[in-house]
Symmetry: C2
Subunit: 379 residues, 2 copies
């Protein structure tokens, strides 16, 4: 079964450690031979690109993950299910392009030059929400867009609550230079509409549908609702689909299925199960945290319930293209909070997810892996 | 000559690479035996603390700097003058404290635990200005302050333009949870006044004087003025002083000496030259950039002019405590922009500074080093 999407994880943590927060770099497997990609979120950027390129020079480091809990490093096999297709570093297409660039230049082709090329290839950013851990890498990298050697504009996309926040609170000449209104048009902000498909300018074979989801409430007494976005990306050539979400909590306890459930409904009614190649979804904290400590996120028990609901919806619709017991659905966990813990919270959460799914209809139908930075998943 | 200040560079770049932007962790050499420190800026945080602790486990990496230009790594000796006292990693006091912690615990004392302890020891942050590259690490780390095991509140300080921006644009339940008004009082925002001394609550022997400086104009047609801060820190026990600045440009071309020159005037009139232990100051871009490409920053020619002015001011005041030809003034460069370049821009800038100073009264009186992350300078 060939892959439609190459997803390189530049960052996937949910803080509170800075430096590797969520950013997924994605391109279609079938796209023309160039270095282009889009990102969902920009919590990290060139720093991660540099580290990935650096790691490609050091084979001895390629199968170990920086953990810093029980051990400084842990083997990749603890984080990624062995049925999950992945490679160390960037996709082969990106590496081939960098190699071509190296050969066509007489000057030194440094890691710095290569990182700039990869960054300039990211022509579209799709932000899930305006929290700092999802935007800060892109913001700090943004002056690179004006590099005269690699001059390449970028389009930013998001639902209106995201784009308005970026305009009002970030690109405002206070928190950051207002590069959206500097007269150059190098960075363009574009509003998407909830549930309305958008065709990528960069990869016109992709339709991208943003779904507004719930992400808790504010910290002050006003308790204003916070929102986030889950993106459904459909490749019109292969009809394959991936789901890439930002922070998200379950729908309200009153049973109203108005946010996350809309994603599950869309998938079940529009995407044959055989074409649902993978879901990147948050699971921020272990089950030991009480619901009121989740602050708009999910723990394994919630995620298992949600996936159970998704499969229940699919079960109402005949789908002849896939037997999940032979081709399990691939779930990639993102946004784990790196809290004080004896054991790496990512490993705790993976264990809990795998254990809990055994008691549900997910058993043998879903495989869980951790979205770890520095690897490319083929889905 | 004993040192009064230990300054660990957590980050010092001026972008556009994310991940290692400006954050200086500082404590007095003479302070009580604990793990406390303050930070000037918070452009990076726990991610850098983790990397510094990790490096202490790997002696083979300790004298090399991540460069990514001509070579992946360059030797530390290219960045730091051999007359500059420094050590790899954190100060001995911090490392001793971590060692004590390790011995008093029966549980595993991981890098993660140690990093949390170092972060919790940072009880005060002094921000120079609200640009993202100076705040993002602290913002993303901020939920760690609520870690039940290390419960420790933090005080944030800055001139009013900085603190108002943090309140309005960052801690606003939009870009980030409003942790300044969550009812816990764990993070307190405090306004400082331009030129008015503030006594550190954490280190009462320190008086800290903030000076408002100019940092260019906004990117839109409105061209609003942008400000930043230079902090002068005086230790009342030793009378020694260091200067730690954020982004800064020269005073206006019309000769009005109203911003940066106020710092030089304060130093010359209040701090005997023998007690001026070092100046951390930005020099963002090489001389090859035209003035209109500096966007509120300095290149070597400007910094040399400014330091020349400082020594000129000092020359009008007799100072018997220091012969600069025997004890040169130590200048540490921060905020270099990691632009596309064959050679590491930090090395270009150091060369330009050293070359230019030969033609001025700085010759043999000033030594230049680069503030490189992962090292502690004793001043």
């Amino acid at each position: 079964m060939s892959a439609s999407f190459e997803i390189t994880v530049l960052g996937a943590s949910g803080g509170p450690w800075d430096g590797t927060t969520q950013c997924f770099m994605i391109h279609p497997t079938s796209s023309a031979i160039d270095i282009s990609s889009v990102c969902v979120d920009g919590g990290v950027g060139v720093s991660s690109i540099l580290q990935i390129l650096s790691k490609s020079n050091h084979p001895e480091r390629q199968n170990e993950i920086e953990s810093y809990y029980e051990s400084e490093f842990e083997p990749i096999s603890k984080y990624v299910d062995d049925r999950m297709p992945f490679r160390v570093g960037f996709s082969k297409k990106i590496m081939d392009q960098l190699e071509l660039g190296r050969n066509s230049k007489s000057q030194i082709y440094s890691l710095s030059t290569m990182a700039t090329r990869v960054f300039q290839g990211i022509e579209e950013y799709y932000f899930t929400h305006p929290h700092m851990d999802h935007i800060n890498g892109f913001i700090i990298n943004s002056p690179m867009i004006y590099d005269p050697e690699y001059n390449a504009s970028k389009n930013l996309y998001g639902l209106s609550f995201t784009m308005e926040a970026l305009k009002k609170h970030i690109f405002n000449d206070i928190a950051w230079p207002n590069l959206l209104n500097d007269g150059t048009d190098m960075i363009k902000a574009n509003n998407l509409k909830n549930g309305v498909r958008h065709i990528s300018k960069l990869f016109p074979q992709w339709k991208i549908i943003p779904f507004k989801v719930s992400h808790g409430i504010g910290a002050t007494k006003a308790k204003e609702k916070i929102y986030s976005t889950v993106y459904v990306i459909v490749d019109n050539i292969t009809n394959d689909c991936i789901v890439v979400g930002g922070d998200v909590e379950r729908d309200p306890a009153d049973g109203s299925k108005i946010y996350l459930d809309k994603v599950w409904q869309y998938l079940a009614y529009k995407i044959p199960l055989g074409h649902l190649k993978g879901i990147f979804i948050e699971c921020s904290s272990p089950n030991s945290l009480k619901d009121e400590q989740l602050y708009g996120h999910m723990s394994p028990k919630h995620l298992v319930e949600e996936l159970d609901r998704l499969l229940e919806l699919y079960s109402t619709i005949p789908d002849r293209t896939r037997d999940l017991s032979k081709q399990p659905l691939k779930i990639l966990i993102t946004h784990v909070k790196m809290i004080t813990s004896l054991r790496d919270p990512r490993l705790i959460i993976l264990d809990e997810l795998r254990d809990m799914s055994k008691e549900t209809k997910l058993e043998d139908k879903v495989i869980f892996s951790m979205a770890v930075p520095g690897y490319t998943f083929s889905l």
